[in-house]
């Protein structure tokens, strides 16, 4: 079989058009900047029906040109995707092939956006996100990777080959190379230096990233919240001590900390496991206090709820911290699962370095919110401090926390990439993006594709998260 070109037969028609519209977009964008500097601020005209419109004239013209060339670029990009999904192999090339593999993702994205836009007036802040272009782009990028990870991890749909299998003859093949064996007939994005399919490794890598990053961030938030609320609420000595500890951790070089935590000698002492024991307690403490403070006046109901929530949580907790290969091994038969080698360490390190920052944000918000009258009202009716912290203060701090959560998932993703790049934590053959970039780095000048593809993947996810956070922040401030 012939190797695939990037855009196949479709490209013969679309490529020149695409090039022209890109150039048109750049030129019109540059022009409109020049024009807006040269001409006075445009007057906005109010139409009788209550709408407003920019006045015509030179600025209006360049703005129009810019808008239409942008539409052209988007339209042609869509044509690549749709064309690829329906045309034959040679008709749509590599892009088409990938587009066809990703059909479940496209369908899910379109469905999600259709439902969300239709109901955007009734879904609060989430709905408002769909008024912001930046937010929508960010959300689309993030959900693209979430869906990709979901279909790859749970249904085995998107990957074309096994991410770990090496096939002789495919070593360092360029993108679009035909596959010599049974199965999917191409290595869409080529092979790496161990002759594994780059496309399959990237989508499999997304599973690891999409699972660990949000979860680790969530735990960091739990720890930060459980410590930040009392620090801000009580103030005084407690605040001084906790803030000092947080500063201490923040001042410690992160990479050095990671190196220390994953060094075999340190791991043998069980230090990361002990830290896990402490850090993973935070969600349990959080849930227990949350329920008890709310239902303390109705003890019977409180006990039932505590039992329902805490028993599974504690079991999960014990299973997570219990691992035969570490000094903490006491559970025996009822141990539900063991976390794969190194993942726990990575998790612990990420939580450990992220939680001080969250702590400081929560503490600051608490200091502000605790001066409100509704907090005083809760105090004067004799509420416990933890009720006030968790039910009166925390819900009203949610806006900034949600935005920071999105940003922090991005940082965590980069951190995971960094860890993978240094070969820390995860096993060397793991398809996660950091390790893959590190693998591809050695032959970068001859075969760039094995490193560039996961790098672009990492970039797009983090960019998406940052845009999403921007959109959320912007929309939560607007009315």
């Amino acid at each position: 079989m012939e190797p695939l070109t990037w855009t196949g037969g479709l490209g013969d028609v679309l490529d020149p058009l695409f090039l022209v519209s890109i150039i048109a977009l750049l030129v019109s964008a540059a022009l409109s900047i020049v024009v807006s500097v040269a001409t006075p601020a445009q007057r906005i005209v109010v139409n009788p029906d209550g709408t407003i419109a920019a006045a015509e004239g030179l600025p209006g013209l360049t703005a129009k040109a810019q808008r239409w060339s942008l539409y052209a670029v988007i339209g042609i990009a869509l044509a690549y995707v749709v064309g690829g999904a329906v045309l034959s192999w040679q008709g749509a090339g590599i892009l088409g092939g990938m587009s066809r593999q990703l059909v479940p993702v496209w369908i899910s994205l379109v469905a999600l956006f259709a439902v969300s836009v239709a109901t955007k007036r009734s879904t609060g802040l989430y709905g408002k996100l769909f008024d912001s272009t930046v937010g929508m782009i960010g959300f689309a990028l993030v959900m693209f990777w979430v869906f990709t990870a979901l279909y790859t991890g749970a249904f085995g749909l998107i990957a074309t080959h096994d991410p770990l299998t090496q096939v002789s003859g495919m070593k360092n093949e360029v993108p679009g190379s035909p596959f010599s064996d049974e199965g999917y007939p191409f290595y869409l994005l080529g092979g790496d230096n161990l002759a594994r399919d780059v496309f399959s490794r990237v989508v499999s890598g997304s599973v690891i990233v999409v699972m660990i990053a949000p979860l680790a961030t969530l735990f960091a938030f739990m720890v930060g919240i459980v410590l930040g609320l009392p620090a801000g609420y009580y103030g005084g000595k407690l605040d001084t001590i906790l803030s000092f500890l947080a500063n201490l951790i923040l001042a410690f070089p992160v990479i050095l900390l990671f190196y220390l935590l994953v060094t075999p000698e340190i791991r043998q002492t069980g230090l990361p496991s002990y830290m896990g024991v402490a850090l993973f307690l935070a969600p349990i403490a959080f849930a227990a206090v949350l329920i008890w403070s709310r239902y303390r006046t109705q003890p019977s109901r409180a006990y039932t709820l505590l039992a329902i929530v805490l028993i599974p949580l504690v079991w999960l907790y014990l299973s997570v911290i219990n691992d035969p290969s570490t000094p903490i091994d006491f559970l025996g038969g009822i141990d539900l699962f063991d976390i794969a080698g190194g993942v726990l360490t990575v998790f612990v390190s990420v939580v450990f370095v992220n939680s001080p920052t969250v702590f400081r944000i929560v503490r600051g918000l608490t200091l502000d919110i605790k001066t409100r009258d509704y907090v005083a009202a809760a105090q004067t009716r004799g509420e416990t401090p933890w009720y006030i912290m968790l039910w009166e203060i925390l819900p009203n701090a949610r806006g900034p926390l949600i935005v920071d959560f999105c940003l922090r998932i991005g940082y965590t993703t980069i951190l995971l990439g960094t860890l993978g790049f240094f070969g820390l934590g995860l096993p060397p053959e793991s398809p996660d993006w950091g390790s893959t970039i590190n693998d591809g780095r050695r032959l970068l000048s001859i075969y760039p594709h094995p490193a560039i593809v996961p790098a672009v993947a990492l970039l797009s996810l983090v960019l998406g998260l940052n845009l999403l956070a921007d959109g959320l922040r912007e929309e939560s401030l607007r009315d």
Partner: protein, 692 residues
């Protein structure tokens, strides 16, 4: 440089101005068909409730409506020139130079990182290109003009080193630096204490005369406008509803809204049993839900269906210079008294439920919070408080910020424990029992209503949930159903529809939120309710309704109401007894009639004089206090009020500076003052209602 200095016409002409804000959902008209003219040297008051568009007008004049706001019709002419046709650089030239604006919050208008002198000098250096030396001289002169002590030192200080009143004087000085033709004051005294406010108001009046500046005075306070302005324009829901000379509008009002507004504010002569306030029914319409025809129609007593709601109402001439936006202004009998409402007589005060004797609260403030140590300072927040409150009695606690009323409330609630003295509630001493040690019964006995309606409810919990939570904490009811039923009854009690149980606080207006706050306080059948300025943050028309509600519940439940306020008008209206506090001391205590009639404590006298009264028939003595309230950290020796007292010279031997005066008793009336009996007897009443 000033534009056409020889211009003689009106300074500001606003004609048929309409301003809209554009949101993602719709256009929101904020101001519609608004016209006003300001002549040179004239002060025009712009009065209305929050959301009526009065500040939007001011921003329109400054051409500073933000990205969403647009002038969609009409013109604003400044000295005959249309502001909309000016270029940005021409506008920059006018702002701060010919039109100056003073905002509500002085600290927000000053740069905290720059010395006051530098900020003042910037104005002429920017607009008039003068040398630094000249600018400094001008700054010194203006600071002297706004009557700040030690001008040279003030110029060298940073804004945070000045008190709120001093900051506002600096803002005024900055506005006057360029000798503007028009001064816009947007609620310039709302953030200040009454006695400080009185000083600022007097200053603004004097400066207006001295510099010949025209003024656009925006306020919600009719009394303040009466004291400062020549003409008044009343706004309602984006429209001017009535304008004219002060005397015309105050005494011969020709619009139902203006009339309703005057009937809802407590003027001298109002009485909670004989002549109760009349609240305006209904709610202020949202800008996008305005009714057809007359905006005030749905709340108007004179509404005529088919006529008032048929088409937009034009502004009509009542007499030259007096306009009203009412179709029926010449049909209504304006002299008719309000319909008398049946008010049951108040309960006679019962047994004392709360006894406070010799109560003291001192705070220890360590100089160094991190490691302790250092010099410890003592803040005397409360000094020897002695009073009692009886069942179904309203005891008003009056004082300005820093007088210790909040500390007293905290001690009553159990959020702080007393340093010395006793608080007896029922038969139990609670002064050293923090709230954690009080049982649910005791906690629910004494509850609080808070000042700021926008802050009193948790924004992320439904109204019903918040009331039910209070019931849960007070151990009310055996199950959820009972508590829910009780919650609905409480909503009935505060006259809110039962559907509100499922609403979020942001869907409620300020008055409605305050009602929920009251329902929450009464959830456990409170015997004593501490109301901390419960209506001061509400609009006047809503104040009356909330006040009436509080009194009605009090009548039904025989509650003791401790009403904390700085607004003497409302205190006079609803209180049975009044306690005046200054710097942690009770300076005067007596029945309402006793406190509001001579002999006064000198502070009460000044306080009474400072409160603006919206009645042209009232003659008031002008007593303006110098300086600010001293810090509680560093109180003056002897009498706490001696630094500002105008009677101090009458006491021989400098006694005021040496000793805290004793509590003098005249029957139940107590005054803490060194003045002799004859001197006290010589005092004249501050407020006199002219004979009709």
């Amino acid at each position: 440089m000033k534009q056409n200095p020889d211009y003689a016409g009106p300074i500001l002409e606003i004609e048929d101005l309409s301003i809209s804000f554009f949101t993602r959902l719709r256009e929101i008209p904020a101001v519609m068909d608004f016209s006003v003219t300001v002549q040179p040297g004239e002060a025009v008051g712009l009065v209305g409730e929050s959301g009526c568009g009065k500040s939007t007008v001011a921003l329109g004049v400054m051409q500073d409506l933000g990205v969403n706001g647009r002038v969609v019709g009409g013109t604003i002419k400044f000295k005959g020139r249309d502001l909309a046709e000016m270029s940005p650089s021409e506008l920059r030239d006018i702002r701060g130079n010919e039109i100056a604006m003073i905002y509500q919050e002085p600290m927000a208008s000053l740069n905290p990182a720059m010395k006051v002198g530098k900020q003042l000098m910037e104005v002429p250096m920017l607009h008039d290109d003068v040398s630094e030396k000249e600018a400094y001289d001008m700054a010194l002169q203006t600071v002297t003009d706004v009557k700040l002590p030690d001008p040279a030192r003030i110029l060298e200080s940073y804004p945070h080193q000045l008190s709120g009143g001093q900051q506002q004087r600096i803002v005024i000085a900055m506005a006057l630096m360029s000798k503007p033709a028009l001064l816009i004051l947007d609620e310039p005294t709302t953030a200040l204490d009454v006695t400080v406010e009185a000083g600022i108001v007097q200053l603004v009046k004097e400066l207006g005369t001295k510099y010949g500046t025209s003024m656009l005075f925006i306020s919600h306070n009719l009394g303040l406008v009466l004291e400062t302005c020549d003409r008044i324009c009343v706004m309602y829901s984006g429209e001017a509803v009535e304008d004219g000379r002060i005397a015309d509008v105050f005494d011969k009002m020709r619009h139902p809204y203006t009339q309703a507004l005057f009937r809802s504010i407590p003027l001298p002569g109002a009485d909670k049993t004989a002549r109760p306030l009349v609240a305006i029914r209904g709610n202020f319409p949202l800008p996008h839900e305005r009714p057809p025809g007359c905006n005030f129609g749905p709340r108007c007593d004179y509404f005529e269906a088919g006529r008032c709601d048929a088409r937009p109402i034009p502004m009509e001439d009542v007499e030259p210079g007096h306009h009203s936006r009412c179709l029926r202004w010449d049909e209504i009998d304006w002299a008719a008294p309000p319909e008398a409402t049946e008010t049951p007589p108040p309960n006679p005060p019962g047994d004392p439920v709360l006894k406070v004797s010799n109560l003291k609260k001192y705070y220890q403030v360590a100089a160094n919070a991190l490691f302790g140590g250092g010099e410890e300072r003592v803040v005397k927040a409360n000094e020897t408080l002695d009073f009692e409150a009886r069942e179904s009695e309203t005891l008003a606690i009056v004082g300005e910020s820093g007088c210790g009323k909040s500390t007293l409330a905290k001690m009553l609630m159990g959020l702080e424990t007393a340093t010395d003295g006793t608080i007896v509630m029922g038969n139990e001493e609670i002064q050293s029992k923090p709230i954690e040690e009080r049982g649910p019964g005791q906690v629910s006995q004494i509850q609080m209503v808070f000042q700021n309606p926008f802050d009193t409810l948790n924004p992320s919990m439904t109204v019903g949930r918040q009331i039910i939570r209070a019931l849960e904490v007070f151990d009310y009811g055996a199950n959820d159903a009972e508590r829910r039923e009780r919650m609905l009854q409480l909503l009935d009690l505060v006259k809110l529809p039962r559907e509100f149980a499922g609403r979020m606080p942001r869907q409620l207006s300020g008055g409605q939120k305050q009602r929920v706050g009251i329902a929450r306080a009464f959830a456990g059948d409170a015997k004593i309710v501490v109301a901390d300025e419960p209506v001061s943050a509400l609009d006047v028309s809503v104040q009356a309704a909330v006040t009436d509600l509080l009194m009605e519940i009090q009548r039904e439940q025989k509650t003791t109401l401790l009403f904390i306020s700085h607004d003497l008008s409302i205190v006079r209206y609803l209180a049975d007894r009044v306690m005046v506090m200054y710097l942690g001391h009770v300076v005067e205590l007596g029945t309402t009639d006793e406190v509001f009639a001579p002999p006064y404590h000198p502070y009460t006298e000044a306080l009474l004089s400072a409160v603006p009264i919206a009645d042209t028939k009232v003659a008031k003595k002008h007593i303006v206090l110098d300086g600010d309230i001293p810090s509680a950290m560093n109180p003056p020796p002897g009498c706490p009020f001696q630094t500002r007292c105008r009677w101090k010279s009458e006491v021989p031997g400098g006694l005021c500076e040496k000793e805290v005066p004793p509590m003098r008793t005249f029957g139940a009336h107590q005054i803490k003052c060194h003045l002799s009996d004859e001197q006290l007897a010589r005092m004249e009443p501050v407020i006199q209602i002219a004979a009709e």
